[in-house]
């Protein structure tokens, strides 16, 4: 792979200094294009001294000494003193997965006992879980210890981690250290790594409502998240357009609200499969059931849940947000979230709360009457707060923590101190102000604004995603610590199974490094070089991650 690196670098350098030919959109934006070209032209990729490590670990010491690995003798095994033994299937599955990533499935061979191992051969990676509870059979959480230490040396490499979560990340890192020499032999350099994430919450939002995403696509992307040390799958599972979640308690919701009641739904078994597949990769699944807005599809299977809109004095036949004035609404929500809290094991649930349109509420005479009774006057944000507070009380009884979109905070709804505020709006200055406001009020926060990956543009937009830092805002050290991470969002208006994966990767990888690696990892040239090879590695593992710029991968995508 080192030769590959050199070649890639040469070619990239060559293409880049020639600039973007044939690339007019029109004369008006020529200047813009030139700018982009110039900016990109600075990216003359030298092979990084860190090879293809992505995201970059916190501490890396590399040496020139290299060892060979052969598929016939190399093994990943439990260390003698590890607290997770052969019964920990999470690790055993991961060992097999990473063995196959490194050597390919076809090349799996029987251990050749008679063969002597060479002097410069590495035959073993010992995985050593050090804390008494390995958490092998638990779910990952916001407070999971994800750290690990990796030492590649003879006679064997050692991966030490307090918990299985760190071991999973360490296995990924180990696999990223392996490269092919000029003769195709697998090699690894003597290396010492000590690693841990900068932020605890590193998420990706997928939207299965605007377009249904087949389970296979979700699983493939969980797989890819693990390759990028992303640890949260934020499942924006329902929205206005469709309700694909098959609820045991309210089966009518998907029966009536899904695009199709059988082919475009997630059954309880599907959801279970996603959660377990994610767990085995150290990924949390946080479901979002967004209310009171974004609920058109809920109304189809749950009559009277939504507010009937009025045109003059008569119902217009259309519906608005959830009806906040009926007791039945809250009975429904109690039962529904009781189910959700049982189905999704994570300690957090995302309750949405964004973009509530007041026009329908305003048109409805019953709601107006209720506003009068409550003394809300004409302030419909008070009605929204009323709803949200009742909802939060309901969810609190299920013993879940909750995340909400920033509007709920902006509207002054009373929140539990451990609420997570998800920032998604505005330009750079606006979201930085918001981060400052939220944290100065003592709430923990998550950033998504700069990482709306559904917004595509021509060229290397990953650079912009890479440069955004969630702690860049005015505030005290204590405030900065309340930033628990961020999420890349791939909203589904223009995305389905046909284009999701190449649109997400490697652009989301840029976010992954920002959220994992140290704050001062900002060298864009070095990132370009590592990311180019990282994307080829994803392609090699069967993931159609799109190219960063003119170049090639040794093994191009074949899944056409």
């Amino acid at each position: 792979m080192s030769t590959t690196l050199k070649f890639t670098a040469l070619l990239l350098a060559l293409s880049l200094c020639r600039g973007l030919r044939h690339d007019y959109i029109d004369n008006y934006i020529d200047n813009y294009i030139d700018e982009v070209t110039e900016e990109e032209a600075e990216l003359v990729a030298q092979p990084s001294k860190y090879g293809s490590l992505w995201p970059l670990p916190q501490k890396v010491q590399l040496s020139e000494v290299s060892f060979k690995l052969t598929s016939s003798s190399f093994r990943i095994v439990d260390a003698k003193d590890s607290t997770a033994g052969p019964s920990c299937s999470l690790l055993q599955d991961a060992y097999r997965r990473y063995y196959e990533y490194m050597f390919g499935i076809a090349k799996r061979q029987q251990l050749n006992k008679g063969r002597r191992t060479g002097p410069s051969e590495l035959t073993e990676l010992q995985v050593w879980i050090t804390s008494p509870d390995s958490e092998c059979d638990s779910y990952p959480s916001l407070t999971s210890d994800e750290s690990y230490e990796l030492s590649v040396n003879q006679p064997y490499a050692v991966l030490k981690a307090p918990k299985v979560w760190g071991a999973l990340h360490g296995l990924e890192t180990f696999s990223q250290l392996v490269y092919e020499d000029e003769y195709g032999a697998k090699s690894i350099n003597s290396t010492t790594i000590s690693d841990f994430p900068r932020f605890a919450h590193r998420g990706i939002l997928l939207d299965s409502s605007r377009h249904f995403l087949p389970i296979k696509v979700i699983l493939a992307n969980l797989e890819t998240m693990a390759m990028n040390k992303i640890n949260v799958f934020h499942w924006h599972i329902v929205d206005d357009q469709s309700f694909p979640y098959l609820s045991r308690t309210f089966p009518q919701l998907s029966q009536q609200g899904a695009y199709h009641p059988y082919t475009h739904v997630y059954t309880p078994a599907d959801v279970k499969m996603v959660i377990e597949f994610a767990r085995l990769r150290g990924i949390r699944v946080i479901p979002e059931f967004d209310t009171p807005g974004h609920t058109q599809s809920w109304g189809k299977g749950q009559p009277d849940l939504l507010t009937p809109c009025y045109s003059g004095s008569k119902p217009s036949g259309t519906f608005g947000p959830v009806n906040p004035i009926l007791n039945t609404t809250y009975d429904f929500m109690s039962q529904f979230f009781k189910e959700i809290s049982a189905v999704f094991p994570d300690a957090y649930v995302h309750l949405g709360g964004d973009e509530v349109d007041f026009t329908c509420w305003k048109s409805n005479p019953d709601i107006q009457k209720f506003m009068d009774q409550q003394g809300f006057g004409q302030d419909y944000s008070k009605l929204e707060s009323f709803y949200i507070q009742k909802l939060l009380d309901i969810v609190t009884t299920t013993e879940k923590g909750y995340t909400i979109w920033q509007e709920v905070f902006d509207n002054g709804v009373k929140l539990k101190p451990d609420t997570l505020i998800h920032v998604w709006k505005g330009n750079q200055q606006q979201y930085q102000n918001e981060m400052a406001n939220v944290t100065s009020s003592g709430y923990r926060t998550l950033l998504s604004t700069p990482w709306y990956l559904n917004r595509i543009s021509y060229g290397q937009d990953w650079q912009g995603h890479y440069k955004a830092d969630p702690q860049d805002f005015k505030g005290t050290e204590a405030q900065k610590k309340l930033v628990i991470g961020g999420e890349a969002c791939l909203w589904g208006e223009y995305v389905d199974a046909t284009n999701l994966t190449p649109r997400l990767w490697p652009r989301a990888s840029a976010v992954a490094e920002r959220l994992w690696s140290a704050k001062d990892v900002t060298d864009i040239n070095d990132a370009f070089s590592r990311l180019s090879v990282h994307r080829c590695r994803m392609v090699d593992r069967g993931i159609p991650a799109e190219p960063l710029f003119s170049s090639y991968c040794p093994h191009e995508y074949k899944g056409i």
Binding site: F7, L11, L14, S15, R18, L20, R21, H22, D23, Y24, I25, D26, N27, Y28, R210, H211, F212, P214, K216, V217, A220, Q241, S242, Y259, H260, T263, H264, N454, R455, I456, S457, Y458, G459, G492, E493, Y494, V495, D496, A497, T498, N499, T501, P502, G542, I543, P544, A545, E546, P547, L548, F549, S550, S551, Y552, P554, E556, Y557, K558, G559, I560
Partner: protein, 519 residues
């Protein structure tokens, strides 16, 4: 020539307990406007006929000039049977062997019992088969139907192309073949193969094997062998698609220099060569000997009577720096006008290919700089905003030259939202000029340059956005001027593409009955 389909009512086996439900569902009447691109003349009624895959077959009309043994149609029947009846692919071969002579009707005509398709050539028949396949639909029980329909159709423009760039990223042959399939579904008829460029030279030349062994990204895995090229050409032919190769020079040739020392101009830094190279060296006779041999090979490998010679974006700074080139300029009396040197070069290349009986297509730059090129040369417009390319259309057609329009269809330029609307609303003949001038617009091309595109994202980036341009190039402009009216039909068409295994991305929120099943 004529082709016919038998639309047998056959046994209607579904009439059982479902009958009641069936009648309810059928209130949701299928509207038959689901053909993309829109045919020129179209009448259909709500009267519909079931198609029984067990009994349906294609046959040649008795008076058809093409009969069984015509490779293009024999294989098209096979393909379209599977496309029309996705659940019955195995039955296809049997049904096809059962060919019957039939009577002749005009153009595409579907009525009870049988449908007939009349076309001057097999190429028209292919387009008609595509249209026919799009008319067939399934109800909720999976039964196939087609409505009574009459269609008369022909393309607005002769040249409806897609450019793929296999130099900036190598595209595996499989990706090219798949694109050809999808092109036929949108009635595209030219694959413009921008096969080599600065970054890599994947074409394996039998005369100059070093070009790819030194100039490709990888000499074994990232090349197109002669048999790969033949495979692409024959696959394209069966779909009625021409393969137009582009060997762009004198610029965009960095990768050529690796396998052909002495071809490129050595750039100078002061009085010494800098070690870098510029465009092809136009001052050396060896250059033209090389080009003559290369184009001789290319002309015989690619059967199309047109060849694309590029000629765009030549950077003069290297030529200027080179003392030998400057001496040549003096000798030729070009002064310091390097466009004359470029003109000299392009004329030589055009003459080489003319002698090989090929008509040249060149990028507009060649017209902009000089006009001593054969009158039958086609100019390819790629630059600028509408006002600019309209001026250029006007200028070039005024000089009596034919043009191809690509400027508004640089589909590699992505943006958020429904940018297909911009591709749809282009008016290729909207420029100031006489009717004669308008006729010189022979068509247009969708360009997918490869900086950010390879096999991982080509298909969803190309489809259905390119289909918007396809309708502009095929259909009548007046009938297709309303982009909002086109939207549901295009949505429907993209679901058809998915059903056929083409990874076409969504236009907006919604769903298809059969979603894409890959990753």
């Amino acid at each position: 020539m004529e082709v016919m389909y038998m639309v047998r009512s056959g046994r209607y086996t579904r009439l059982n307990v479902y009958l009641l439900i069936l009648s309810v569902l059928q209130l949701n009447l299928h509207t038959v406007e689901g053909v993309w691109p829109l045919p020129q003349a179209f009448t259909s009624s709500t009267e519909r006929y079931p198609l029984n895959p067990q009994a349906f077959y294609f046959g040649y009309g008795r008076q058809s000039a093409a009969q069984q043994g015509c490779s293009v149609l024999d294989s098209a029947f096979r393909r379209y049977f599977s496309l029309i009846f996705p659940d019955y692919t195995d039955v296809g071969v049997d049904a096809l062997s059962n060919l019957l002579p039939v009577c002749v009707l005009d153009n595409l005509s579907v009525s009870a019992g049988q449908a007939s398709l009349k076309a001057e050539t097999v190429w028209g028949a292919l387009r008609g088969l595509e249209t026919f396949s799009q008319l067939v639909y399934q109800n909720d029980f999976g039964s196939y139907f087609i409505n009574k329909t009459e269609i008369e159709d022909f393309p607005r423009f002769q040249f409806r192309g897609i450019l793929l760039d296999t130099s900036r990223h190598y595209l595996p042959v499989q990706a090219i073949l798949k694109t050809l399939d999808a092109m036929a579904y949108s009635k595209f008829n030219v694959f413009h193969w921008h096969i080599v460029d600065d970054p890599s030279f994947p074409y394996q030349s039998s005369s100059f094997p070093d070009l790819s062994s030194k100039g490709a990204f990888h000499p074994m895995t990232h090349i197109y062998t002669q048999s790969d090229v033949r495979r692409v050409i024959s696959h394209a032919r069966l779909w009625g698609i021409r393969v137009l190769p582009e060997f762009d020079s004198p610029g965009h040739t960095t990768s050529w220099g690796k396998g052909q020392p002495g071809l490129l101009t050595p750039c100078y830094n002061g009085g010494t060569p800098s070690g870098t190279f510029g465009p092809v060296n136009p001052a050396l006779p060896s250059t033209y000997q090389f080009m003559a041999r290369l184009f001789k090979e290319v002309s015989s490998v690619f059967p199309d009577s047109y060849i694309h010679l590029g000629g765009d974006e030549v950077d003069f700074s290297c030529w200027k720096s080179n003392p030998d080139v400057r001496a040549f300029m003096q000798k030729m009396g070009f002064g310091s006008d390097f466009t004359k040197l470029e003109a000299f070069y392009m004329e030589n290349i055009v003459n080489i290919t003319s002698a090989l009986n090929k008509t040249s297509i060149v990028w507009q730059d060649v017209f902009d700089y000089h006009e001593r090129i054969p009158k039958d040369t086609v100019l390819h417009i790629w630059k600028g905003i509408p006002a600019k390319y309209q001026e250029e259309l006007s200028r070039i057609t005024k000089a009596g030259m034919r043009v191809l329009l690509a400027a508004p269809w640089y589909i590699n330029h992505i943006s958020y939202g429904q940018d297909w609307r911009n591709y749809y609303t282009v008016q290729p003949q909207n420029f100031s000029g006489t009717e004669e001038q308008k006729k010189l617009v022979i068509g247009g091309e969708v360009c997918m340059w490869g900086e950010y595109v390879d096999a991982t994202n080509l298909s969803p980036r190309l489809w259905p956005r390119a289909s918007a341009a396809a309708e502009r190039l095929w259909s009548d402009e007046k009938q297709t001027s309303n982009v909002d009216k086109a939207f549901p039909r295009l949505q429907d068409f993209r679901c058809k593409l998915l059903r056929r295994g083409i990874q076409a991305e969504p236009l907006y929120v919604g769903h298809c009955k059969h979603e894409y099943q890959g990753v």
